[in-house]
């Protein structure tokens, strides 16, 4: 699993590539640390290459959401694959985020 973070068009774009399962969550938290250092922009989670997400992954995203919202910004989910989207949906997490294709 790989995470890349970029600042594009005034947004912080974090791309998650691969499976965000329990094993990957420790790595993911570290990789996503830069998001917590900023508070001035929206965050886009690029899920176009996200194949899998587990509960711990969901928890990580939830934390990001909370942090960003606390700073009055939005968190977007971009390019969600349908099966991953279903997981978000069935767990009720889909409502939290705004989605973009």
């Amino acid at each position: 699993m790989n995470i890349t973070i970029d600042f594009q068009n005034g947004q912080l774009v974090a791309a998650i590539i691969g499976d965000l399962d329990n094993a990957a969550s420790t790595v993911a938290e570290r990789s996503l640390a830069p998001i917590y250092e900023r508070s001035d922009c929206d965050v886009v989670i690029d899920c176009s290459q996200l194949d899998y997400i587990s509960s711990s992954g969901l928890r990580i995203l939830l934390n990001i959401y909370k942090h960003v919202r606390a700073h009055k910004h939005e968190t977007f989910l971009k390019g969600l694959k349908s099966d991953v989207a279903e997981v978000f949906n069935l767990s009720g997490f889909l409502q939290l985020f705004k989605t973009i294709d």
Binding site: D51, Y52, S54, L90, S91, Q95, L96
Partner: protein, 815 residues
């Protein structure tokens, strides 16, 4: 004499005497079928030829000689006859002369009878040779005073001479032969022989008579001399003795044998009676004419007439029953003949004696020749025996065997020199050979060690991963020579099977060394790289950097993900492996070591469960039979396609059998390596046992992949199922206080049942407080998300707590 034409088994012991340059006396036992000394053979041949020639010569000589000897013998006896004749004649003549002389005197002294006596006794005293008596018989009444008869007779009696008048009526000499014939023969007349018995011993006599005349020339009486034939008889007998006892060689002291076979000298009278004969009994009794004419033939008749006519001759007659040669000659002035009878046996005996003498001489000569020849030849060939002995020594390995000392510049000398040269050369060659062989065997020993090392380098324990039921691997390698240039390798890492197969160009030791290098590189590169192409690239660059030798190797590297069955591979010029009988599509990369800047291209393929991967080197497809036909790639492909359901070992053995069957007796021309890998994911039990700790969660993903392979469902559903299982397991690990968790999957036709069995604290997710999904996620209490997911992602969830303290949670997914 031996015949060299019979072959017989001979064990000969030959003692070789000391030569001056030897210090030993060696006895050689020759065991050879039909061995015969050369000297003996040669000598025998020479002597045999010689004998044959000499027999012919002797026969010829004998024939000629016998004739010659016969002639000589005849001549000898004829000569004897002549001598005897002459001698006898001489005696007769003496008598005649004596008589004649006496007659003259008597004729002078006839006046008175007394004077006649005087003359007679005087004459008798003087002439002694064989004359018994002399006498004169006068005509009737010549001396009237005496009367009618007057025969003055003088004879020897004992040692004195006696004279008497013997004429009387009872001794009427007028009618006696001597008087009658004497009167008629003016020149003298020899009477027939007769026995005179009147005085003393009977004596064979004959009388020589001649008429006497008076002064007026009138015949007045007959003068007669009596000659004893005994003297002649004795003379002839002595001659006979000599002739019968003396031979060419032999002299016997006395007559021996059959008298009829003796040489006999006889005198035969006018009528044929024997007058002298060695056997006195026969004298005047047996008649020669009668004897010879018993066998009536013309020869005998001729002889009789010859003798009667006083002729000389020789004839072959049968005398006394013995075939003889008879030499007859007349005694002059008498009607007698002298005969020498030579019986044939005697004659032959003389000839035979001569031949025997000659033969013995020659035989002794031959024997001498034989001995000399044998000795000489043997001496000459003695060096050959020594050479034979030396050859035996050389054969035993002793190249310093002594050679005979030969002085002659002949063939044997040549042989000896050649032998010496050969010995010297052999010594040198053997020394060289010993060195080379020692080196070679040392090298071969090393080669064997190298082979052992090489064989041990290749993984060859089967099955290599017995704990992995999903991998069935079998390999075999047969190098063409002691060491080969083919390699294969495989090992397991991160649930992936890394394997390779390769073929180094060339054979033997250099290829083997190269092969070892490549294998080491494979092992080291695979530790770092995860892609086949990367491994290939790295190996290629290493080779080209480090090694300048013009060697390269075809290679195939594959990485099989045992979870998913994905094969990541890269082929560098090697034969495309077969997947369940179908050639794997390969890109045309160069072999490694060929060009260091070559960019390798990798590929990948998804294997189906129970796929059989078969890798091989061209040693099998290019296996030749005795007519140089190749086994062929198509045969290999065909065979693999037919054997997709067998085990890896069976497939490899099938391939090996095909090669053996094809090649037959032909030599293997290249290394043959075969590697079969069968992937049986279905062989793995769908069970997973993990420790209840954080790291164990990593094992759930591959497990779920396996499950998916066995029971494929839609990808999305599979992901959901995986999520549900992972959440359930994470829950146990984080909150369950368990030690081990056991997962087991049962696949039915319409559903997948996964049970999660743990020995932790009782927890039933089915009745756990359901998280209120209506509450926004951010407002929900932490935890519980996993349970939501578990419930949402599955089609059913059941829980059971066992008596021995286990939680059994079953997740159901419809398919």
């Amino acid at each position: 004499m031996q015949t060299p034409f019979i072959i017989f088994y001979v064990k000969k012991s030959i003692l070789i005497p000391c030569f001056s340059d030897y210090s030993y006396l060696c006895s050689i036992e020759y065991e050879m079928n039909g061995y015969q000394s050369f000297s003996k053979r040669l000598t025998t041949r020479i002597v045999l030829t010689l004998t044959l020639v000499l027999i012919i010569v002797i026969a010829g000589i004998t024939i000629i000689a016998s004739r010659f000897i016969g002639t000589m013998t005849e001549a000898y006896f004829e000569h004897l006859a002549d001598i005897e004749n002459e001698s006898v004649e001489k005696r007769l003549h003496n008598m005649q002369v004596a008589v004649q002389i006496t007659i003259d005197e008597v004729e002078k002294e006839m006046s008175h009878p007394d004077s006649v006596y005087k003359v007679l006794s005087r004459k008798l005293q003087l002439n002694t040779e064989g004359i018994i008596g002399i006498g004169v018989g006068f005509e009737p009444n010549f001396y009237p005073e005496i009367g009618r008869w007057f025969e003055a007779y003088t004879m020897r009696l004992n040692d004195s001479v006696v004279s008497r008048q013997i004429g009387s009526a009872s001794h009427d000499y007028f009618t006696q032969e001597w008087y009658v014939e004497g009167m008629n023969h003016d020149n003298g007349y020899w009477t027939n022989a007769y026995f005179f018995k009147e005085v003393g011993e009977p004596v064979m006599m004959c009388t020589y008579a001649k008429p006497i005349h008076d002064a007026r020339g009138r015949k007045v009486g007959v003068y007669a001399g009596d000659l004893s034939l005994n003297m002649l008889h004795d003379y002839l007998l002595s001659k006979d003795l000599k002739a019968n006892t003396e031979g060419v060689i032999r002299v016997s002291p006395e007559l021996e044998g059959d008298p009829h076979q003796w040489v006999r000298s006889v005198i035969v009278g006018k009528n044929g009676y024997y007058l002298s004969h060695p056997d006195k009994e026969r004298m005047l009794r047996d008649n020669f004419y009668e004897i010879i004419t018993q066998k009536s033939d013309t020869v005998a008749d001729r002889v009789v007439s010859d003798m009667k006519a006083g002729r000389k001759g020789t004839a072959e007659l049968v005398v006394d029953g013995v075939s003889s040669t008879v030499f007859y000659s007349p005694l002059e002035q008498s009607d007698m003949s002298l005969l020498v009878i030579l019986p044939k046996p005697r004659y032959y005996a003389v000839v035979a004696e001569f031949c025997l003498f000659l033969s013995s001489f020659l035989f002794v000569g031959l024997l001498a020749v034989y001995i000399i020849c044998r000795h000489t030849i043997r001496r000459s060939t003695r060096p050959l025996q020594v050479l034979a002995n030396s050859a035996d020594e050389v054969a035993k390995g002793n190249f310093n065997a002594p050679l005979p000392d030969i002085h002659y510049r002949d063939e044997i000398g040549l042989l000896r020199d050649s032998f010496g040269n050969m010995q010297h050369s052999l010594r040198q060659y053997i020394d060289e050979l010993k060195t080379t062989t020692a080196e070679k065997s040392a090298f071969e020993r090393e080669l064997n060690v190298a082979r052992g090392i090489q064989m041990s380098m290749l993984p060859n324990t089967f099955p290599p991963f017995p704990e992995r039921a999903d991998i069935d691997i079998y390999a075999s390698q047969t190098p063409a020579r002691d060491v080969g240039g083919d390699l294969y390798d495989y090992f397991l890492r991160d649930n992936r099977l890394f394997f390779c197969i390769g073929d180094v160009s060339g054979k033997g030791m250099p290829a083997a060394l190269f092969m070892a290098v490549i294998r080491a590189m494979f092992r080291s590169e695979t530790r770092r790289a995860d892609r086949a192409v990367a491994i290939m690239d790295a190996m290629n660059r290493n080779l080209s950097e480090e090694y300048t030798a013009n060697y390269f190797a075809t290679m195939f590297v594959g990485i099989l993900d045992l979870t998913t069955g994905t094969l990541d591979y890269c082929n560098a010029g090697h034969e495309a492996p077969l997947v369940s009988g179908e050639p794997l599509p390969v890109k045309p990369n160069l072999p490694i070591g060929a060009l260091d800047e070559w960019n390798y291209e990798g590929q990948h393929m998804q294997l189906k469960p129970d796929a059989m991967l078969f890798l091989y080197t061209d040693g099998i497809s290019e296996a030749k039979n005795s007519t140089m036909q190749l086994l062929g790639r198509q045969t290999v492909i065909h065979l693999a396609a037919e054997n997709t359901d067998v085990t890896a070992q069976e497939l490899v053995h099938q391939m090996e059998a095909a090669v053996h069957h094809h090649a037959g007796d032909a030599d293997q021309n290249d290394d043959i390596t075969l590697l079969a890998i069968k992937w049986n994911p279905s062989q793995l039990p769908l069970t997973l046992s993990i420790k209840a700790e954080e790291e164990a969660i990593d094992l759930v993903k591959p497990y779920m992949a396996r499950v998916n392979l066995q029971a494929p469902i839609e990808e999305k559903e599979a992901k959901h199922l995986r999520l549900a299982v992972e959440e359930a397991v994470i829950n146990v690990i984080n909150y369950g206080k368990a030690t081990t968790i056991l997962l087991n999957t049962i696949v039915t036709g319409d559903a997948i049942h996964i049970t999660i069995d743990d020995d932790g604290t009782p927890f039933d997710p089915t009745i756990a407080v359901p998280t209120n999904l209506s509450i926004p996620a951010d407002q929900r209490p932490p935890g519980g998300l996993g349970i939501i997911l578990m419930r949402q992602m599955t089609d059913g969830l059941t829980y059971q707590r066992t008596d021995d303290g286990h939680n059994i949670l079953t997740l159901i997914k419809k398919r």
